[in-house]
């Protein structure tokens, strides 16, 4: 397959592809970034809600304290699988592991291309474009139009219940999903113990820590989790992230 066409021709073709996708991938991602921030910034500056800079900074700092590790690790994890072109697609379309990666892999196998080869990269890019098309249309039609209509006809007492309890109903499922898919028994136990101690012992003692409680749990779990991790025999080579 690819072996017949390696050489300067392939290199030139892929070189141009890489240049185009890198340049336009970056530009479109910056445009997406601007649009995604424009909404909240409009509310902050023009909706006359009396939001202060301190409030915004505190809220962002608490989120950053919890997720900064993930911000750095996710791009590092997905780069070898996606390649540079698809990176700019994937981190804007979202739902990478449960939608985009399977789509790319199925497309590659359907035309008999291996991941990491030029054919594999093009197949992945096309598959992600296909997935994006389906995703945009289904979101727009079923959430944008149908969902908005649905919310307007559902009895108000139902929407009120949804609003109050949607957070625990998301978190209950997400915790189980994280425990099952990450398969880190020790880190799970550490996280439970640390969370109970921080939320029900530390915070009642020092109430001012309530707003950074999650960040404290994350950092403590991270440090303890690292020291009690299961050490693999050998160099730990089999501990690479599990990818489908």
């Amino acid at each position: 397959m690819t072996a017949t066409l390696t050489g300067p021709q392939t290199a030139a073709g892929m070189g141009e592809f890489e240049r185009t996708t890198s340049r336009w991938g970056r530009l479109t991602m910056i445009a997406g970034l601007v649009f995604s921030l424009a909404g909240p910034l409009y509310l902050v500056f023009f909706a006359d809600l009396g939001v202060t800079a301190t409030q915004l900074f505190t809220a962002f700092a608490a989120v950053a304290g919890t997720f900064f590790v993930i911000w750095l690790v996710e791009p590092l994890t997905y780069f070898p699988i996606l390649g540079s072109a698809s990176m700019y697609q994937a981190f804007m379309i979202g739902n990478i592991s449960n939608k985009l990666l399977p789509a790319a892999l199925i497309a590659q196998s359907s035309i008999g291309a291996k991941p990491g080869t030029p054919r594999g990269s093009l197949a992945a890019v096309m598959a992600i474009c296909g997935a994006a098309a389906v995703h945009l249309v289904s979101l727009f039609v079923f959430v944008g139009l149908l969902g908005t209509w649905l919310i307007s006809v559902i009895p108000p007492d139902v929407t009120e219940v949804v609003r109050i309890y949607v957070l625990p109903s998301v978190m209950g499922a997400v915790i189980i999903q994280a425990i099952v898919s990450l398969k880190q028994v020790r880190a799970t136990i550490v996280a439970f113990v640390v969370a109970v101690l921080v939320l029900f012992v530390l915070v009642p003692l020092v109430p001012s820590l309530a707003m950074v409680a999650t960040a404290i749990v994350v950092l403590t779990t991270l440090v303890i989790g690292w020291f009690v991790r299961k050490r693999e025999a050998g160099a730990g080579q089999d501990a690479t992230p599990e990818v489908p």
């Binding site: 690819t2 392939t10 911000w71 590092l76 981190f91 399977p102 996280a191 950092l219």
Partner: protein, 258 residues
């Protein structure tokens, strides 16, 4: 007593009209920004497909193979996309349509965005979705979620060229570091946010446990060959069953006082 009654009348009055948070969350400007993100993703796809079509002959790929890849990707995405739709609809009452479309549907994912929202609301002393969830709190929450998502994109924008140029040096980082550290961070965040729901009311506990149990059941059943689709639908099903349990328990008067 008076504040409680006042609150009750306020919420009944608000019930007829959309709540002030939803009125703000569905303003036209936010719709335009959300559609802007949709447009950007569409434009990006078109540019990428053109580039792929141009490069295809050089790597020995036929136009037919490009079409097959596109179609396969599209078909593979139908199930997961509809699963995301289900989850997103459940969050419309909390975030309004434009924010849900961008944050849950596109850039982010339901787990990170609701986690960020809950943390951000907490810093203002408010409870996401509760009576303290005012338009001002929504603006702060939406800002924090969007900045969080922006950090992901920023990390991608900075790291991708570095990884591309620097060969694969960064991948040679101790593999245990790359698995244990993010796993610990994710487990710490979600478990902490889940447990933080427990003291709020008995209904919160019932909701949390029901949703967790349904998700567990879905993941177990997903091991049966014919039921693999439960892997992606589990989250949506668990949220819906959890909310149903919440509705029943709330109607039975177990909800938060006041």
């Amino acid at each position: 007593m008076i504040p409680t009654t006042a609150l009750a009348t306020a919420s009944t009055a608000a019930a007829a009209e959309p709540s002030p948070v939803l009125a703000l969350a569905n303003t036209p400007v936010l719709w335009i920004c959300a559609l802007g993100v949709f447009l950007v993703v569409a434009v990006q796809s078109v540019i990428y497909m053109k580039a792929a079509r141009k490069a295809a002959p050089a790597v020995g790929m036929t136009p037919q193979e490009l079409r097959t890849s596109f179609r396969t990707g599209a078909i593979a995405a139908v199930g997961p996309s509809l699963a995301v739709v289900l989850v997103a609809i459940a969050l419309l009452a909390l975030f309004g349509t434009p924010a849900t479309l961008v944050r849950i549907g596109l850039i982010g994912s339901v787990s990170f965005e609701t986690a960020a929202a809950s943390i951000a609301a907490g810093t203002t002393g408010a409870e996401l979705g509760g009576p303290t969830y005012t338009p001002q709190v929504f603006a702060i929450v939406f800002f924090a979620m969007s900045m969080g998502g922006a950090m992901w994109m920023l990390a991608t924008l900075i790291l991708t060229p570095l990884l591309q140029r620097g060969g694969h040096k960064l991948e040679k980082v101790n593999p245990a570091l790359m698995t244990v550290v993010p796993a610990a961070a994710l487990l710490g965040a979600f478990i902490s946010l889940g447990l933080a729901e427990v003291p709020k009311s008995p209904v919160h506990v019932i909701t949390l446990l029901t949703s967790a149990a349904v998700m567990g059941l879905c993941l177990v059943l997903a091991r049966v060959p014919g039921l693999r689709w439960l892997r992606e639908w589990g989250l949506g099903i668990a949220i819906l069953v959890g909310l149903t349990a919440a509705y029943l328990a709330h109607s039975a008067g177990l909800g938060p006082v006041g």
